[in-house]
Structure formats: C-alpha cells, structure tokens
C-alpha cells in the first residue's frame, strides 16, 4: 500500500503505523456499513437461483410497481427541473428583498420527515381533509391513488435541483447574460445559448440525485399509497409487502433492481463530477 508518508520521517506526516491504522479503521467501517449491506442485497436475491429471481421480477404486480415508479419519477423530476431552473434564475440573477428567506423555504422539505411529507397531503385531500368532501362529491381520488403518490414524490424531491443550481448560478454571476442581452439576444436565446451551457453539469447532477430519491422514496409514498397491490404500489412499497409476507427472495429481487439503480446513480454522479471538474464548472 503506497501512502504519502511512507517516505522517511517528516514531522508534517503521520508515521506509517498510524497511517495504516487509520486506513484500516476507515475501510473496515465502510465495509461494515456499506459493503456488507450492498453484497447482502444481491446474495439474498440470488439465494434460490436465477429462475426464482427472474420469475419474481416477471410477476404482474412487480411490473405494475415498476411502471408506477417510472410514472411518479417521470412527472416529479421534470416538474422540479422546471421549478429549479426558474427559482435559480430569479435568485441568482436578480437582487430582491426576502431572497434568503426564499432560499430557506426551498430547503424546507429536507427538514421534514418523509412520513410528515405524506401526512400533509392526507390532511388536505384525505377523506377528513380540507378538500376531502369536495373531492368525494366530484368523485376524484387523490389519496390512496396515483396523484397522491406523485404529489408526495414531488414534495420530497422538491429542493434537489434548485439547491444544486442556485449556488452554481450565483457563483457564475450575470455578466455573461448581460453581455448577451447587450448584443441583442432575446430572453430565450440568452438562456439557451449562454446560461444553460454554463450550468449543464450542475443541472444533470441535480437531476440524477432527484431521480434517485424519486424512485426510491418510501416513507412519504407509503403514507398516501394505501398499499393496493398492482395499483398504488411503487417498487419500494412492493419490496415492503413482499418482505412482510416472508417472500424474501422476491423482496430482495425487486430490491436488487433498486440497488442497481443506486449504483448506476453513483457511477453517473462520479462521471458528472469528473466532467464538471474538467470543464471548470464547480459543483459543490
């Protein structure tokens, strides 16, 4: 193992023994809390062989769960993308009163327990909720139905993209946009040709993290879903049901798909970080 301090003794470095000890402790800790769980997902999923694994995934309820997960993320991510860009544009490129309050409010969903995130929509749209009677009268179901799941997903992933873009666009200032406008560019032209190319890596970074959370959210979605098999179960909820039925192989099979998604997210995230560094667009 080559380390910086395996030269001769300089007092600005630790001794070799301390270095190795620290590396050992760090790696053991990560192995215990990250490596082992990750391995467990796949070991449990393949415990009874390929066939059971595949059949667990081919089941119609599993398919329905995958489809619903894709729908929820497919709506939540673009919605929060549009919001993130609009919020970052207003906050980073203009000076106005109450800006720091606005930034704090955007961060709010991060401070709220996922369960509470689901709860607030039940309070609004549930049978006893503010709009409960009106919705029932018009025969519209939001809670224990797909719209509720989408809303809860939007809520928990709300800050991801805005949070990534605001500091990035603030650090870039507005000189380039002002130059574009002074050269006769319209608002859209300025945004598409000047702003967007400057923030593309940060944007992608936010989208990836937002998507991972959207597809993996459990607590908030669990509260509004009603757990109706084949109808209002997302993949994480499906995992829960299978697990509670002691159908471990099937539960871990679906879980392994989510774990693969997580790994893919990490790979893309590292690539984006690397690209951003190369192109000199600092992520935070």
């Amino acid at each position: 193992m080559s380390t910086r301090s395996v030269q001769r003794k300089i007092s600005t470095h630790e001794s070799l023994g301390v270095t190795l000890l620290l590396i050992g402790v760090a790696l053991s800790y990560l192995l215990l809390f990250l490596g082992l769980p990750l391995a467990t997902v796949f070991v449990e999923a393949f415990k009874k062989g390929w066939e059971l694994y595949l059949s667990a995934l081919m089941e119609p309820d599993a398919w329905a769960a995958i489809k619903l997960t894709l729908i929820a993320a497919g709506i939540a991510v673009p919605a929060n993308l549009v919001f993130g860009v609009a919020a970052a544009w207003a906050i980073a490129k203009f000076e106005f009163k109450g800006k720091s309050l606005l930034i704090t409010l955007i961060d709010l969903p991060f401070a709220v327990s996922p369960v509470v995130s689901g709860l607030v929509y039940v309070l609004l749209f549930g049978a006893q909720g503010w709009f409960g009677h009106w919705l029932q009268a018009h025969d519209i179901r939001l809670i224990f139905a797909v719209p509720g799941i989408v809303l809860a997903t939007i809520f928990v992933t709300f800050p991801f993209i805005a949070r990534e873009l605001i500091p990035l666009m603030q650090s870039q200032g507005k000189e380039e946009e002002e130059a574009a406008v002074s050269l006769g560019a319209s608002g859209w032209q300025t945004f598409w040709r000047v702003t967007l190319p400057n923030i593309k890596w940060g944007l992608l970074y936010g989208v990836i993290l937002c998507n991972a959370r959207a597809m993996g959210e459990f607590g908030a979605v669990s509260v509004v879903s009603g757990h109706i098999r084949g109808l209002t179960n997302t993949m994480p909820l499906h995992v829960e049901i299978l697990y509670n039925e002691y159908n471990f192989v099937a539960a871990f099979a679906v879980a392994s798909l989510l774990a693969l998604l997580a790994l893919l997210t990490l790979v893309i995230k590292s690539l984006v970080e690397w690209q951003a560094k190369r192109s000199g667009e600092p992520l935070h």
Binding site: Q7, R8, K9, I10, S11, T12
Partner: protein, 347 residues
Amino acid sequence: MSITIENLNKQFGSYKALDNINLEVNSGELLALLGPSGCGKTSLLRIIGGLELADSGKLLFHGEDVEQRDARERNVGFVFQHYALFRHMSVFENVAFGLRVKPKKERHNEAEIKRRVHELLNLVQLDWLHDRYPAQLSGGQRQRIALARALAVEPKILLLDEPFGALDAQVRKELRRWLRRLHDELHITSIFVTHDQEEALEVADRVVVMNKGKIEQIGTPDEVYAAPATPFVYQFIGNVNLFHSRDHAPWTQQHGDAVAYVRPHDIEISQLAQDNTSLPVEVKLVRAIGSIVRVEVAVDGSSEFIEIELSRERFDTAPLTNGDKAFIRPRQFRVFETGVQNELSAA
C-alpha cells in the same frame, strides 16, 4: 549558528530540484537565495528547515549533522510566503503557540509566556493588535506577526520563504528596511528566498544566485552586480546588452563564437567615432526617467535595440534626438564564449 551544506541533491521524479549544492552560511549573517521560480531556492530552504528531506548530501548546523532531526527539533524559525497564521487563534495565541507546545518540563508558566509574547509583539510594533484575528489584519501586519511567531521559540536560525512576495510594492519596501534593522538588532543567522533582485541586493549581506538547481554565484550584493560570474547572473541581475561576435567582431575580438555582455550604463555614446571599435548606430528613442536618460539605439541594418543609460548631466552636454546618427563604445564589458562560462576580457 553557522550552516554547512555539502553535495546536497534533491530530485522530484525526473526533475532535479537541487544539483550538488555546496554552501557555507556564516553565523549571524543575512543571506539571500535569489533566482527565478523553479530554480530550487525554496526546496533548499525547506530542506534546511526540515520540511523536506534531501536525497543525498550533508547538512550541518554549527558542525553538527542535523539530517536525522525533524523540523520540530531543529530550532529553526520558518516564515512562509502566505504567512500560514492559524486562522482560529488570536494574534496573541499565534505568537504563543510555539511556547505552549513545548514539552511540559521546558514549558514556561502563563505569566512568563504572556511577558514574552508581548515583548515580541512590541518588537514587531504590533502589540496593540494582540486580541485581533488574522483575518482582521493587513498583509504587512500578518507577515510581521508570522515573524514574531517564528521568533518566539528563540530559533538559532531564521528561514524566510518569499516573505514579502504577497505584499504590494509600497509595503514590501517598508518591510524590507524593517527586516534589515531587525536583523541588525538580533543577529540571528537568517536565510531568505526571493525572486526579486532589488530585494536581495538591498537587504542581504551576501547573495546566492541560483538557476536550475545549481548555484551560479555567491557573493556580496556588490560583487554579484558588478562582477557577475556567469551569463545567467549578468542577465538575471540588472539590465544587460548582448553583442554577438558574429555581428560585433571588434569587441569580442579573436574569440570565435562568443558574446559580450555590457550594462546599459557602461556604454558611451557620442556623435563622433572615437576609434575603430566604435559602432555606428541610429537613435530610435530617447526617454528621460527621473535622474537618468534612457536612449535606445539600433545598429545600422539591424532590428535589435541596444539600451543605453546616461546621467542627466552627461546627456545634457550632448543632447540626442530620435533619428540622430551616433557612435557607441563599451566602457566595460565581459565576453563569454557561447556555452562556456569563461570570462575572457574586460576593458
């Protein structure tokens, strides 16, 4: 305390930072390591301070080998270009740091620490800032605090790495004089690294000119300016005009492929040729700068400019204007054969 360096080498990968360095630093002197960036001067300073290790060679303090002693045991004060003050400590605590980390049995009591820190802060004339934090100080003040901090442990040797490099011109000039006075007061063997020739010549007792990991010349400021040992020193310290033997054979005479080095103020210019070595030129630009007048001339048929400096009185006795024809002749020069560092002649 004297420092002896023998056959010191240091390599970073394939890059030779120090190539067989030999140097004797006398006790109590103020020595400048002067050279362009990347010449190895900082590496040499860091090796003396124990912040880096040499690949081979000897390093002696007062005749004693210190190679195996690490930085904290060398009793060396180190002042960094960017001050390296501890951001989370007040000025007082910064200066007291070295006293507080001493082993228990050598440590002074709180009252004594307090007394000594204030004494040092008074020495650098900043005692009134003792409860400020580094972020609240100007660059010049920070560097003086850094110096006080280094002096707190009563080092036998003081090492300063580009101590004024990050300061603006006015402050730099002030601090330079101040460092010289301080050294005259304390007489600690001091070495400072700089790439600024003016700084080295003004402050140091002796100057070591370095280039590409080698020492080019060691001498007093006067010696390195008036009698440069190599073409590099000639060009690095002060301005110089180069005359190649191909074009200006009369000066370089019989020496084949050689170059004559002439300082701008060592060239005489007149309307008449004084002898057959005089070179006909055309005056291209005349500019008075304070007490001197700088005249740029070009040899007929050449696009290269030659710089000449005259005192204002001398210029006024025979004023020149652009386009005038004139003759120049070196008063004093040195010839180096191309590729060989060999002094051949001086008029």
